[in-house]
């Protein structure tokens, strides 16, 4: 483990450290014990900084991961040790229980891990988009709280950019990965925007409920629930903001919805071809999308041939999900390329600050300017003797040293790494040192 330091030549060593565990390293029984609430995350960031373990800190905590990101302070010789110590004491968990469960990364590997998280490569569901929102939220809260600094700001902004690019430039998050979402996305292929369309939920199974949630999220207009048990239908309808309908009026209801989701436990098909044919006629032949989630199937197989009826059963949806999973996996190299590009960017920025003494760069620049100025000004002054020229050169050299003395002391002995880095970055920018190096 390395730490962030400033050496004798003002050469800043920027290091980031990370400890955490996720769904791959820890079971849910353990993960639920080490979760940080929003308040706890900010408290932890504060305490880690006040105890001198970290100078900048961000805590990410979701159902699948708990991670501490930080920039170790000058004196923190073994920051990950200290972070781990803090982590276990915060949650009052014996260290032995986390043995082999926690991962520790530092330097570019920590950056790579964060970027992979942002890209959805480290998620349980490859390419899922939710993590990017969670990451943004955790970072913004830490930023507002004053827990971040130039290093983590740069690193997290890079991560958010990676997440955005991955989702707009690759297919890794494009296709539905659950049976429920696949059903809803297919319905969108028929009707486009689901706003203003209607759905009928037949039965109250768990997957059907997920389908309803996805449809609700897309603003489906009218939602009705039919179940053999009216009470269960009413319960689900109330939960999802729909309307419960009696089982007896099923055939009448079938003529209304654009989307039918069925998951009734029955020994054979309850929706025959003729029933659906009548339903289509009742809706003047307008298209109907039917998702049959039941096993045994609720919809007779020959109904699939009906004009303007699109029928998908659980196996069809399962196959689509499997295809999509393969397609997402095939995108991983493109995602890794985007991550590598952004790691290079971060490392280049870091390298610019680490490359050497900014004051030395500045001194060199000032001396160059001094020589040019003296040459230009004394060009036409033949009356100035060689001795006088030497004195002018000597005085201006002293002036440069005196002007640089104060910023040099500030950078060497200023309070905290964050302040020094901010100063260094500002100097590079103001004096155009990066441009010069190009």
């Amino acid at each position: 483990m390395t730490t962030s330091t400033t050496d004798r030549n003002n050469t800043v060593r920027i290091k980031v450290a990370l400890i955490g565990c996720n769904h791959l390293t820890a079971p849910v029984e353990l993960r639920e014990r080490i979760i940080f609430s929003t308040q706890q995350a900010l408290q932890a960031a504060d305490e880690l900084r006040h105890q001198g373990i970290l100078e900048e800190a961000v805590v990410i905590s979701t159902c699948n991961r708990s991670e501490l990101y930080g920039v170790p302070g000058d004196l923190a010789a073994s920051a990950t040790e200290a972070m781990e110590e803090y982590f276990t004491s915060f949650h009052q968990i014996p260290r032995s229980e986390l043995h082999g469960r926690l991962y520790r990364w530092s330097g570019p590997e920590a950056v790579r891990h964060l970027y992979r998280v942002a890209a959805g490569l480290d998620s349980m569901l490859l390419g899922e988009a939710e993590i990017l929102g969670q990451l943004r939220s955790a970072y913004n809260q830490a930023l507002d709280h004053g827990a971040t600094g130039p290093i983590l700001n740069r690193m997290f902004q890079g991560a958010l950019e990676v997440g955005k690019r991955v989702r707009s430039e690759t297919e890794v998050g494009a296709r539905p990965m659950s049976v429920a979402l696949a059903g809803v996305k297919l319905a969108e292929r028929v009707f486009g925007n689901l706003k203003g369309h209607s759905a009928l939920i037949l039965g109250a199974g768990a997957v059907a409920e997920q389908v309803v949630e996805h449809m609700r999220a897309r603003g489906i207009g009218n939602l009705r629930v039919v179940n053999r048990s009216f009470d269960r239908a009413a319960e689900l309808a109330q939960r999802v903001g729909g309307e419960a309908v009696a089982w007896e009026s099923l055939e009448t209801e079938l003529g209304l919805p654009d989307i039918l989701v069925t998951s009734v436990t029955a020994s054979g098909p309850i929706l025959t071809r003729s029933i659906l044919e009548r339903a289509l006629a009742a809706r003047s032949g307008r298209s109907m999308f039917v998702v049959d989630l039941a096993v045994p199937r609720n919809v007779a197989e020959d109904a699939a041939g009906l004009y303007n009826l699109y029928l998908y059963n659980i196996d069809d949806l399962g196959e689509i999900v499997a295809q999509n999973k393969k397609a997402r996996e095939s995108e991983i190299p493109r995602v890794e390329a985007i991550i590598a590009e952004h790691i290079d960017k971060f490392e280049a920025w870091r390298g610019a600050l680490e490359a050497g003494s900014i004051v030395s760069d500045l001194r060199e620049q000032f001396h160059q300017q001094r020589e040019i100025l003296i040459r230009e000004q004394l060009k036409d002054m033949d009356e100035v003797s060689a001795g006088e020229r030497d004195r002018i050169a000597h005085i201006t050299e002293k002036l440069i040293e005196r002007l640089l003395e104060h910023p040099e002391q500030k950078l060497k002995h200023g309070r905290g790494m964050r302040g020094r880095l901010a100063g260094l970055e500002a100097m590079r920018h103001l004096f155009g040192l990066d441009e010069e190096k190009k």
Partner: protein, 270 residues
């Protein structure tokens, strides 16, 4: 082809590349660039047609080359209008590809030399020709949209969804876009035919209603009106209506090529 013609072809090709890229990996900015390039291509193409018109002293319609180029320009313009109206870019790749192929075919299949300037027939006649060509362009667009509808419907029914499937517009959107296009075509055709009749009456005091071009134009009006009626009918709405729309375009194509080249007396290309 004048250098402006090559420029418009190049800009259409760039627009196609952006639309295709946006279809493969959706990116709002690439989509906007594709639309901007199409608009730029249409502007350059307009100036090309304008220069040709100046040399011929009329709207380019007397020769197959000029007429087909005008057709391509109006096709692009109609699509751009539909794209803004329906806020749907995923068809752009197909339309711009059609434009490129069409202009490329012009270069290969039709005589490039300018026809001898004819006696100007006046603004009413120019409008008659332009509106009728616009109608054909709109019908061509509805043909493309209907074809995509039929493919999408077939894929949905087969349940074997390829990578491109998720990028295509929804059936409902394709259906609405095709109908919008047919509406544009019908309005343009009715207005164009009316102007043609007025112009002919002014010229000769009568109407050549027996001309094959007039007969087939009435047939085109009939089949597209039938499509609009059947597209709302229970037994026809959906894939059958899309198939009918696609087949109707065969008659348009027949009218535009065979009738214009061989059958009509006064609608003939030079």
């Amino acid at each position: 082809m004048h250098h402006l013609g090559y420029w418009s072809l190049a800009v259409y090709a760039a627009s196609f590349a952006c639309y295709a890229w946006n279809l493969y990996v959706p990116n709002p900015w690439v989509g906007r660039i594709a639309t901007a390039l199409l608009a730029a291509g249409i502007i350059v193409h307009y100036f090309y047609l304008y220069q040709r018109s100046l040399m011929l002293h009329t709207v380019p319609y007397d020769d197959l080359y000029g007429s087909m180029s005008l057709f391509a320009w109006l096709l692009g313009l109609t699509y751009l209008g539909l794209e803004f109206f329906h806020r749907q870019r995923s068809v752009g790749a197909f339309v711009t590809l059609l434009l490129i192929c069409w202009i490329g075919a012009l270069r290969v299949l039709t005589p490039r030399a300018l026809p001898v300037p004819t006696v100007p027939h006046g603004a009413l006649f120019a409008l008659h020709v332009t509106l009728n060509t616009w109608a054909y362009a709109a019908f061509a667009l509805s043909f493309v949209l209907s074809l995509i509808y039929l493919i999408q419907d077939r894929v949905l029914r087969s349940r074997r969804l390829g990578a491109a499937f998720w990028r295509f517009p929804a059936l409902d959107v394709l259906d609405r876009m095709a109908r919008s296009s047919v509406y544009v075509g019908l309005v343009a055709l009715i207005a164009g035919v009316s102007m043609g009749l007025v112009w002919q009456h002014r010229l000769s005091g009568g109407y050549s209603l027996g001309d094959p071009k007039v007969i087939i134009t009435v047939a085109i009006l009939g089949v597209y009106l039938a499509y609009l009626f059947l597209a709302r009918n229970a037994a026809w709405r959906g894939a059958r209506a899309a198939l009918l729309c696609a087949l109707n375009f065969v008659i348009v194509l027949f009218s535009y090529t065979f009738v214009n080249l061989y059958l009509t007396r006064f609608h003939r290309f030079l």
